[in-house]
Symmetry: C2
Subunit: 382 residues, 2 copies
């Protein structure tokens, strides 16, 4: 494997490029538009529509294997690539579990993986019946096409039962509504696995993640306060899901820790994940390098941490329009903090970069990372 085709021109594809450079692999990019985050840094970039079979097939002809920056390529297109003898990693039969939450819930349920109670509901009446059986509020989700908090609704009671069905119309035709038990969680966690075609897999330490309005804003790794047996069980569960689903590349298992102590699966993603960005600086092998190694069928790298604590904080578009100028403040206050900027125009609330701090102590390390992020968001120090 020499030429890795990456569908999607966002920051995840962008951050694959440093890893590809070291490994001597060539990335070939199918980007939504010229000048996208990844197209700025990958010479072999073509612009095209990833939902058009012809475009994707033409793109794939120059590649030894195809992988993804996002999960939105239609399953039928991926099957036809495989039929044409092109390696797709993760393959469509695995990827569907990250594309379709109904498929994911059914499969995880069959595997006995702890999930919130859930049910596909065809209409408001069925949703109300679910809420009456499992209690209100109810979480309703579109099975396909949701992201960063979009396509998820928290419904207080039966009066709101029509909301997701109205919302779905604006989304997509192949989606259904899933009703899920509201989990009163105290925090979210994430476990990342990287897995090769033959089954070799590595798992990263469990991260604690902070979500704000459905967007990941910060992670702390390793997640504080977990018992050793919990860590062991969560890692084993993530490895098992990756194996059962036949994932190749990175799998992110997003979890909720409930007030009653239960830990249940919230979402799956099959690509490098925001909750693994800490690994660029904080691990011997970053999630991006292990994703590429997996996709290229090379032995996977050590997921050992380089510091007792690594805290990553997302930079969301704020009042500072010129992020590179903000680096002056960031680096003059902290010579050890690390920054990744995504090359995107600053739009309020948009993910435009992240910062990472490594240290001995959760509180101090977190304070350093947040201070750096605030500088880049144009907020004052205090």
């Amino acid at each position: 494997m020499r030429v890795i085709g990456v569908v999607g021109g966002g920051q995840l594809a962008r951050m694959m490029q440093p890893a590809a450079i070291g490994l001597g692999l060539r990335l070939r990019l199918l980007a939504e538009m010229a000048g996208s985050s990844a197209a700025q840094v990958i010479p072999d970039a073509v612009v095209g529509d990833y939902t058009d079979p012809e475009t994707v097939a033409t793109f794939a002809r120059g590649c030894d294997v195809i992988t993804f920056d996002h999960e939105h390529v239609p399953t039928a297109i991926l099957h036809s690539l495989e039929d044409a003898g092109i390696a797709v990693r993760p393959g469509p039969d695995a990827l569907v579990h990250a594309q379709d939450k109904a498929v994911m819930r059914a499969r995880l349920g069959a595997l006995g993986v702890p999930c919130p109670a859930n049910e596909v509901v065809p209409d408001a009446a069925a949703l109300i019946a679910f809420g009456d059986a499992h209690g209100w509020p109810v979480i309703a989700k579109t099975s396909r096409g949701g992201y960063d908090g979009k396509g998820v609704w928290k419904l207080a009671g039966p009066a709101e039962a029509a909301v997701p069905f109205d919302g779905l119309e604006g989304l997509r035709a192949d989606a259904v509504v899933i009703a899920e038990e509201f989990v009163d969680f105290t925090r979210e966690l994430s476990v990342l696995v990287a897995r090769r075609p033959g089954g070799q897999a590595v798992v990263y330490p469990v991260s604690e993640t902070v979500q704000t309005d459905g967007i990941c804003t910060a992670t702390t790794t390793p997640a504080p306060g977990l018992r050793a047996d919990q860590v062991r069980d969560l890692k084993a569960m993530a490895l098992r899901i990756a194996a059962e689903l036949g994932v190749v590349g990175v799998l992110a298992v997003e979890l909720m820790e409930a007030r009653d102590g239960r830990i249940v699966v919230n979402e799956l993603a099959m690509r490098p994940h925001n909750t693994g960005h800490w690994s660029i600086d904080g691990s011997v092998t970053s999630q991006f390098e292990n994703h590429l190694r997996a996709v290229a069928d090379l032995p996977l790298g050590s997921t050992e941490t380089l510091a007792p604590v690594t805290v990553m904080v997302n930079v969301l578009g704020g009042s500072l329009g010129d992020l590179v100028a903000g680096l002056d403040d960031v680096f003059s206050h902290d010579p050890a903090v690390k920054v990744q900027l995504y090359g995107k125009d600053v739009v309020p609330g948009r993910k435009v970069g992240h910062v990472t701090a490594m240290g001995e102590d959760v509180e101090q390390t977190s304070a350093r990372a947040w201070r750096a992020a605030r500088y880049l968001m144009g907020e004052s120090d205090e």
Copy 2:
């Protein structure tokens, strides 16, 4: 500073790209030829002759600042860029000390920096007089245009005194011959500094370097067996040289440790340097990131190490033509070793990559790095 122009398309420019991606800086490359090591990974690459004033001036117009992958751009071209208002970092008045060993020796001598006895010799007779005064063998060097052991001669006695003058004819017109005292060194050392325009500077730990036929083949960082006062003095000396010469970017001070304990300066380089490649994996901030930060006038990053020992071994072209295939052996034997491949055709003896191992113990870490390098050179494990 947003667009950094890099003159030279080799592996040093290539390894700047991961750092540029993180910092949100754009690299613009002037490469000797299409498909060069750096041009493979930098979208904005033009092919042209860096000795042609027009080519360089046209290239520079699209850049906020110009820096280098090598030291071979003629001083007159750099002066005319500065006259046109373009920032050149390091500037020509600093860079000349890395381009011309006669200028470097004169300046270091004036600064009282320990150097081997040396003298510019106009002819063989003068060289013989130098040898008779300082003892044989004598090291003769071309003042300009030497690299990787080329343009350096070890002369056993007066009978060989004409060799460098004959050799010089094949090199360049503006070069002279420098005679230097032969230093019976037990090992070579290297100290890297990064310095901003305003004078802020950081220094990396001292590295021990192994040279074979004039090519750096391995480094161990920190250099074993130095006393704390020696380390302090060497770092202070490197920082002083950077300041006195007005260096902006990375300065590498290459040193020889003589059998009698003296440590003298061998060479200066003003760009990321082979002896600093360990810092990609082994330091909080790599030499490439600090070079770019310095050139873009951003505050410099921490040079703290991430492990007690980091060993870098160069991969020289060997019997293995397909380096990516060799990664299978490397990574399956050692999940924690790191690799940088340069995207170059494998030619015997050519630098085509390097490997880095981090560990607790010099001997074990060195063994790991050498084993990985041997796999990539197509040599058997033992």
